[in-house]
Symmetry: C2
């Protein structure tokens, strides 16, 4: 499939609310039928009591007895960027590159994606939709000896499917140390057997699910965010604008009107390069019991203030066909964080206000983040340390809300970690005075930068939510 | 200056052999007048006798007593990529990000670049042309207290010049540990005082100098390589093809005929991602006296076979206006290496055969390299371990030589390190059977990948040499 053909197929699929499932009711009915939460028990457990997991010495960290999966380690952060010059924190170290993969297939002329109903212990609602494959390298090189995840072969064995997209993308730099995953979309031209936990959906159906709270998981969102809704390198096509609502029209044009970008791509690269060169962050390893402000007990690792997050343990029992039990630590988060983009029509095209984001787990310094990304604590507006532009997301007089839903972060590592995702459009006349580490980019520019791994996961997850067909109220 | 205006200005400048210097004779006369080698003495010295430099313990390495500049350290490399699974070597560790900057100005309607005649102790011919500024971070943050390099302020102080290009680019991954520099081009709209060691040249004049041996230094080449000769995002312009030789025409079209690319950009990213995921390389620190195959003496660090490179010391005396003396280690290389690109017209557009290149100093795994890059040892064709496709560069029956000159690597770190740079075009009919870690890319694709730091310095240095106006024989 040529690039142009793929773009066209993506864009058609994005407009399709009907496919193998005739409508959203059918999609939701299938999901509800899968959602038998009683088959998955998650019980809190003390860290000291976790099966196979425990504190390992030199320096003190939390890990699996086999040395596999991941460890939770301590770090000290020192930086000249942002208001806080130094802090200590636990962080997840999982040096492998995994695969997050969507299998695609054209059915009756419309591209469908094979979505998986997947239970994860950290999800508030246990079951969410994941991409076809979520595999760690241990999974796919089968060092554990166990079963390979279903459909994995389409992503790893050359010739079984056509690769439409394969990019290395960073994960949460505030919680993972240098973690990246391959984000892939591969196309099969033939029928594949569909296991009962999987179903073919159009991109439009997935986008519709993204307008609802906590259905599409983080791993699915990051892959979906990389699928372009229009081609930045193609002139815009009037026919494709037909029948779109004004905001979706603006979204489409923001992808492809590269002649109307406020900053050139050279200037965008220059801004990012300057940010990488100017801001520094030193991350040094520390034993978990040597972290300032954190207490380590047999039960959990907590911040003395009760804020930020804590490291807890869970025992999981899955009463599925293959009954399984395991224990693991999770990073527990209280309350709701906020991830928000401000956008505004500039030069006749929608631009998004991005912020240079420097976090301890970033592999290569500054990344491109959303306008606002903050935890529950900071999100309580009115606080002195509230992040810039927070007021736009809480005062309806300042802008029009274009997107607002609650989404979960990865339920295999995080416990009840939810963020409110918002996109707010401010009127063209409003002058926003943004410091130098902010920049206005079109969606086409964000997409081009994302392709090379420059856009962080919070920003990508929010971009994934764009492009849904509006439901008639 | 808009992107389109900048591209047009670059492209016009590239065609101009006349400017502030009316012709190449004037350029060469100026360079010859600067070239008073007797004012710069470089004497070999034993490592133990170097002023301020010496062996530092824990682990044993070579460094400056102040802890500044750079160190030469030992590493062990283990990899599943390439024919050699493990080796030890010394490597330069210089964790700072420096600036390689070209100052540009429009003079009589043609863009000129301020080139510096600069003496470096490692150059075979001492004097070469460097960019306007070569500054380490210590230089520009002035931690040493000394003079800031001339013209540095245009690259560091906002508002003094317009940034046309600012990118982080990797250096030699076989010799530097994770080293990168900002490559910058900035535009001034007013006159600046020109110091006697500097001169304004058109891009065409610099390209002409690049057809000659050892005049334009590595730092200048890497910046020049990032200046696009045409805009990949603009349709090709027939008017710009007028008067070009067939090969320059092909070079121009290879930049902008993005409709004729053999692989889509998604496929190119996929190929690179697959390479990064599939090939692994582990680099562990070792003391210099613990390296297998290397001997450390007071005089030098050498490989037991006498091959590869050695670490030597030099005492430098510069009889310039400000008389200066210093000592430093350099990496000495014998003979000539080869850096070569094969190109071929495919789908009506010139494509270049790139090779996935994994070297111990790479920050992020595989980079995009030239078809062939090898040291003097391997370049002796006929050897069993000769790299693939080497024969094309030595057998004139296999292709037409489009570029062939000897260029030096950075004379501030390397001693007499020269490579023969070659571009060979094979006829459209010839079928080249290349393994999976090779890929055919257009110049537009190479330029787009280079912008994000994916193209290694050997490939960039060779690309810089493209686009010269042919001299009439």
């Amino acid at each position: 499939m040529s690039t142009a053909a793929a773009r066209l197929a993506f864009s058609r699929s994005c407009r399709a609310l009907s496919g193998v499932f005739p409508d959203m009711e059918a999609v939701m009915a299938w999901f509800a039928a899968k959602d038998r939460r009683d088959r998955f028990e998650v019980r809190r457990a003390s860290l000291a009591a976790l099966d196979q997991w425990g504190f390992l010495p030199g320096p003190l960290r939390l890990g699996h007895r086999s040395g596999k999966f991941f460890t939770i380690e301590g770090i000290r952060v020192e930086t000249d960027f942002g208001p806080i010059p130094s802090w200590d924190q636990p962080i997840i170290n999982q040096p492998e590159v995994g695969i997050l993969g969507l299998l695609a297939r054209e059915i009756d002329g419309v591209l469908h994606f094979l979505m998986q109903a997947k239970m994860e212990p950290g999800n508030v609602n246990v079951l969410q939709l994941s991409p076809t494959v979520q595999a760690t390298r241990s999974n796919y090189s089968r060092v554990h000896g166990g079963h390979a995840p279903r459909y994995l072969e389409y992503f790893t064995e050359p010739g079984l499917a056509e690769v439409l997209l394969d990019q290395l993308q960073p994960e949460q730099g505030a919680r993972f140390l240098r973690k990246r995953n391959r984000n892939m979309v591969v196309l099969v031209s033939h029928d594949v057997p569909v296991h009962e936990d999987f179903a073919w959906m159009t991109l439009g159906q997935v986008k519709d699910l993204l307008t609802r709270d906590n259905i599409v998981n983080m791993d699915a969102r990051t892959v979906v965010s990389l699928i372009p809704l229009a081609d930045p390198d193609e002139p815009s096509d009037a026919a494709r604008l037909e029948g779109l609502s004004p905001f979706r029209r603006d979204v489409y044009l923001s992808f492809c009107r590269s002649d109307r970008e406020r900053h050139t791509m050279d200037a965008v690269m220059g801004w990012l390069t300057m940010g990488k060169a100017a801001a520094s962050m030193r991350v040094s390893p520390l034993p978990l019991d040597g972290l300032r402000g954190w207490s380590v007990t047999e039960d959990a690792i907590r911040h003395e203030t009760g804020l930020y997050f804590s490291v807890i343990g869970v025992d999981v029992t899955a009463h599925t066909r293959e009954a399984t039990r395991w224990s693991q630590p999770l990073l527990h988060h209280e309350g709701l964080g906020l991830v928000g983009f401000l956008c505004q029509s500039q030069w006749g095209v929608l631009h998004f206000l991005v912020r240079g984001s420097l976090e301890p787990g970033n592999r290569d310094g500054m990344e491109i983040g959303p306008t606002v990304a903050c935890s529950e604590v900071a999100a309580r507006s009115g606080r002195v340390c509230a992040p810039q532009f927070l007021e736009y997301f809480f005062d309806s007089a300042l802008g029009a809300v274009r997107y607002d839903a609650v989404q979960s972060e990865e339920g295999g590592r995080f416990h009840h970690f939810q963020n409110r995702y918002m996109i707010v459009e401010i009127s063209p006349g409003t002058v926003v005075d943004a410091p130098g580490h902010y920049l206005w980019l079109t969606l086409g520019q964000l997409w081009r930068m994302a392709r090379h791994g420059h856009v962080n996961i919070e920003a990508r997850n929010l971009l994934a939510c764009l492009g849904a067909v509006e439901r008639t109220p």
